[in-house]
Structure formats: structure tokens, C-alpha cells
């Protein structure tokens, strides 16, 4: 009976060769799911009775908003592992996740604002979700800025991990306070729950797009982590062998 070595892929040397095929596989899956999701969302799904065609931005907006929060949690999870076990690959994963998380947050904000114009008549309402999403973007940017500011990668790993953990503890409090602030300051005149009963086809399109966003994230993060590994392990013998072979 052989026991599983859980830490086999915790070392960049053994993790690196696996990532290429994984990244490619998830990239193809993301493209297929995005194509199917967009076809369902833009062509198959019917026009909304109240909002017309404008609602179709939901198929980008909602998956992006989901990913923006989910990625922060995953990033904080890797940060915690990197601090607790002093595992540098975990820190690299956290580092690789941040730009994609910030990207999805920005997409959620921009699409939300574009959707707000036809739905609410304004590009920006101080809606609780929009406001907390904006603060989430600041948290991502702060995390990335702190990493950038520290030259020593090991110190950058650990300092940004502490920041990510402080951020993830604060995130629910920030969200709760913004919701509370919002209900205090304006009535329920603006509501995001526009469609009380969503047609099954719309829900299906949204879920397929959510999977596309997941697979895209995995593919991009693995590709980015490959680059980070090569950059940070450049003095290791296996990296020069890899570079020689790739030439």
C-alpha cells in the first residue's frame, strides 16, 4: 500500500512540467465554454420583457463579479498556506492570482456601470454591491502595489500574504458596512434583482459563462505561475536546462 505524497507538487521543479498541459487544457475548455455560453446568451436566450437587449451584459457581468470575490478568497488561502508552511510555490500562486482577480473586478465594475445606464439611467449609483466591488478593486491594487514595492521576493511573499489575510478578514465587514450604509442612505429605489424569475435558458447561459471564467482563470494563472517560476528560479540548474531545450 503506497501512501500519497501530498507535497510532491509543492516544489516548483515537479510542478512546472505539469502546468503546461493543464494550462493548455483549461484554456481550450475556457474557449469552448465561452463560445457556447455566448451563443446561448446572445442568440438563444429571449429578449427580456422589461430591459430589452441590455440585460444580456449579465452573461459577462455576473460571472466576473463572482470570480472577483472567489479569486480573492483563493488568493488569501494560498497566502495563508505560504505563511504557515513557508511554501514558496503557494506564494507564487497567490502572486499569480492577483492580476486576474483585479481584472475580473474591473470588468464587473465596467459592465455594471454600462448596464446601469439603460437599467437605472445612470452610470454610477452608490449601490452597495458596486461600492464594495470598488473597494475590492482597491484591495487587489494595494496587494499588487505592496508586492511591487518590495525588492526581495521572499519578503514580498510574506508581507503580501499578511496583507491578503488582513484583507480577507475585513472583506465581509466592509461588505456588511457598505450594505448597511446603503440601506441607510437611499431607499430600495435601485435594486439589482431586476428579473424576479429568470428564464432557465438565461440561467444556463450564465452558468456556462461562469465555468468559462473559471477555466480561463485556471489557464491564465497557471501560465502566469510558469513565468513566475522561471523568473524566480532562474539560478536553478533545471531552469537553464529547460531554457536550453526550448531554444
Amino acid at each position: 500500500m503506497t501512501s500519497i505524497n501530498w507535497f510532491r507538487y509543492a516544489s516548483p521543479v515537479s510542478f512546472f512540467p505539469v502546468t503546461r498541459r493543464l494550462a493548455r487544457g483549461f484554456g481550450v475548455a475556457a474557449a469552448v465554454f465561452a463560445a457556447v455560453g455566448l451563443w446561448l446568451g446572445l442568440i438563444v436566450a429571449p429578449t427580456d420583457a422589461q430591459q430589452g437587449e441590455a440585460y444580456r451584459i449579465i452573461f459577462i457581468h455576473v460571472p466576473a463579479a463572482w470570480m472577483s470575490m472567489f479569486i480573492y478568497a483563493v488568493m488569501a488561502g494560498w497566502a495563508a498556506v505560504s505563511l504557515a508552511l513557508n511554501a514558496r510555490l503557494s506564494a507564487m500562486m497567490a502572486q499569480a492570482l492577483a492580476p486576474t482577480g483585479a481584472l475580473f473586478t474591473a470588468i464587473a465594475l465596467v459592465t455594471g456601470s454600462l448596464w446601469g445606464r439603460p437599467a437605472w439611467g445612470t452610470y454610477w449609483a452608490w449601490d452597495a454591491r458596486m461600492t464594495s466591488e470598488l473597494i475590492l478593486l482597491f484591495l487587489y491594487l494595494g496587494y499588487m502595489a505592496l508586492r511591487q514595492a518590495i525588492d526581495d521576493p521572499r519578503r514580498a511573499d510574506r508581507a503580501s500574504a499578511v496583507l491578503a489575510l488582513v484583507g480577507v478578514v475585513n472583506l465581509p465587514i466592509i461588505y456588511f458596512s457598505v450594505v448597511w450604509w446603503n440601506t441607510l442612505h437611499q431607499g430600495a429605489s435601485v435594486s439589482l434583482t431586476a428579473a424576479p424569475t429568470m428564464a432557465a435558458i438565461m440561467l444556463a447561459a450564465m452558468l456556462v459563462m461562469a465555468f468559462a471564467a473559471w477555466f480561463y482563470t485556471i489557464a491564465v494563472v497557471l501560465t502566469r505561475v510558469r513565468a513566475i517560476i522561471l523568473e524566480r528560479e532562474k539560478r536553478a540548474a533545471w531552469v537553464s536546462e529547460f531554457a536550453e531545450a526550448a531554444r
Binding site: 473597494i135 494595494g142 514595492a149 518590495i150 519578503r155 499578511v162 458596512s177 448597511w180 450604509w181
Partner: protein, 232 residues
């Protein structure tokens, strides 16, 4: 670690020692303390110049303006918390001392709050007058600031420790810490607003107190970790 420290002194003497030391240091450079209060005063003064002196509008803006200015003033004072100890090596000695590091840092943060946050809270009713706040609203403002500014100091200390010795640390610190200040701003300003509307602000004060208790427990530990990272 504990094997190396067979006779580790308790946490409370550590807090007291660091508090006494930092208070003494702060009181020997009184000019620096004045600068932060003057900054608060000037930022608050700029708002009526920018938005006009309509009394009803000023009264509506007052709580938010005073709280935002308090946030900025607290941010301005943060780099001083560890920077000089870091540059002259005392922070390293503090980290090496047998006292638990979170306890020493708690003392330092407490001293920092006593010399920055507390005077600011005491000064604020005076500025509230300029915005036409009534007596009980000014009371809610002071109570909120007294409950909220220690949390700002505690959260800010984590950011100050993370950015120790970095180029352009000040602007970076603002980016790291201001988003985390959001809940304190919301509930602090809302407490004054609720009092203005004639409602009890007990809920807001409870949330501010809860945030304070949570950060008293969590922030010194995060801060000690960050200081050790910076000293590595």
C-alpha cells in the same frame, strides 16, 4: 522559541514598558504632535471654502468631513509609529527582547493613539461648532472618535509595519490602509447622523466597539508578524 526563553516576562509588563517608552519619546518632540492636529484643523477648514457656507449643507456634511479628515490625519501620523525605531535599529532590539513582541507593539500602538487619536477626538467638538453641530451631536462625534480612532491606529500599524523601509512607503500605506478604514468611517459618521436625526446611536457605537475589540486581539499579532518580516 519558548525553549530559548525560559524566563519570558509577562505580556502586561511589556505593554507597560513600551507604552512608557513611546509616550516619553513622543512628549519630547511636541512639535510633531502639533503638526498632525494642525493638519486635521486645516483639512476641515478647507471644506467650507470648497463647498460654500450654507448652514444646512454644512450641518449635513459635517460628520462625514470631520471623520474623513480624522482618517487622513491618522494616516499622516502612521509612518512615525515604527520608522525611527526601524532606521536606528531599536526595533530590532525590541523584537529580540524577551517580552512577547505583540505585547510590546500593543504598548507602542497605545502610546501612538494617546498622542495622535485621542487629542484629535478631544479637539473635534471645536471643529464641529464650525459645521453647526449641536451639543449632543458633538458628543456623539467625540464618543465615536474615541471608539473608532484606536481601531484606525491598530489597523494602520499593520500597514505601517508592512511598508517599513520601502521607497514611497507613505503613498503605498494610504492605498493599503484606507480601504480597510471604510467600516469605521461609515459607522462613525452614521453615529453622528443618527444623533442628528434624533435617534439613538447605540447600534453604531456597538459596531465601533466590536471592531475595536476584534482589532485589539488581531492587529498586534498581524503587526508583530509584519515587523518580523520587515526585520528579516
Amino acid at each position: 522559541m519558548s525553549a530559548l526563553e525560559p524566563t519570558s516576562p509577562g505580556a502586561w509588563p511589556g505593554v507597560a514598558w513600551a507604552l512608557r517608552r513611546d509616550l516619553k519619546l513622543a512628549l519630547r518632540s511636541k512639535a510633531e504632535l502639533g503638526v498632525q492636529l494642525l493638519f486635521y484643523l486645516i483639512v476641515v477648514t478647507l471644506f467650507p471654502l470648497g463647498v460654500g457656507v450654507e448652514p444646512t449643507m454644512l450641518r449635513a456634511l459635517g460628520p462625514g468631513v470631520l471623520w474623513v479628515a480624522a482618517l487622513l490625519a491618522s494616516l499622516l501620523a502612521l509612518p512615525r509609529l515604527f520608522a525611527s525605531d526601524f532606521s536606528d535599529g531599536s526595533l530590532e532590539q525590541i523584537a529580540l527582547s524577551p517580552y512577547p513582541l505583540p505585547a510590546l507593539i500593543s504598548g507602542q500602538i497605545l502610546a501612538h493613539w494617546l498622542t495622535t487619536g485621542a487629542p484629535l477626538a478631544v479637539l473635534s467638538p471645536l471643529l464641529g461648532l464650525q459645521f453647526g453641530l449641536e451639543g449632543h451631536e458633538a458628543g456623539a462625534l467625540v464618543a465615536g472618535l474615541l471608539l473608532g480612532t484606536p481601531t484606525l491606529s491598530l489597523l494602520g500599524a499593520v500597514g505601517a509595519a508592512l511598508t517599513l523601509g520601502l521607497a514611497r512607503g507613505g503613498a503605498l500605506l494610504a492605498l493599503l490602509i484606507l480601504p480597510l478604514y471604510v467600516p469605521i468611517l461609515i459607522f462613525g459618521a452614521a453615529a453622528v447622523g443618527a444623533t442628528h436625526a434624533g435617534m439613538a446611536a447605540a447600534g453604531e457605537f456597538s459596531v465601533l466597539a466590536a471592531a475595536l475589540l476584534a482589532s485589539v486581539v488581531g492587529a498586534p499579532i498581524a503587526c508583530a508578524t509584519a515587523v518580523r518580516i520587515a526585520l528579516d
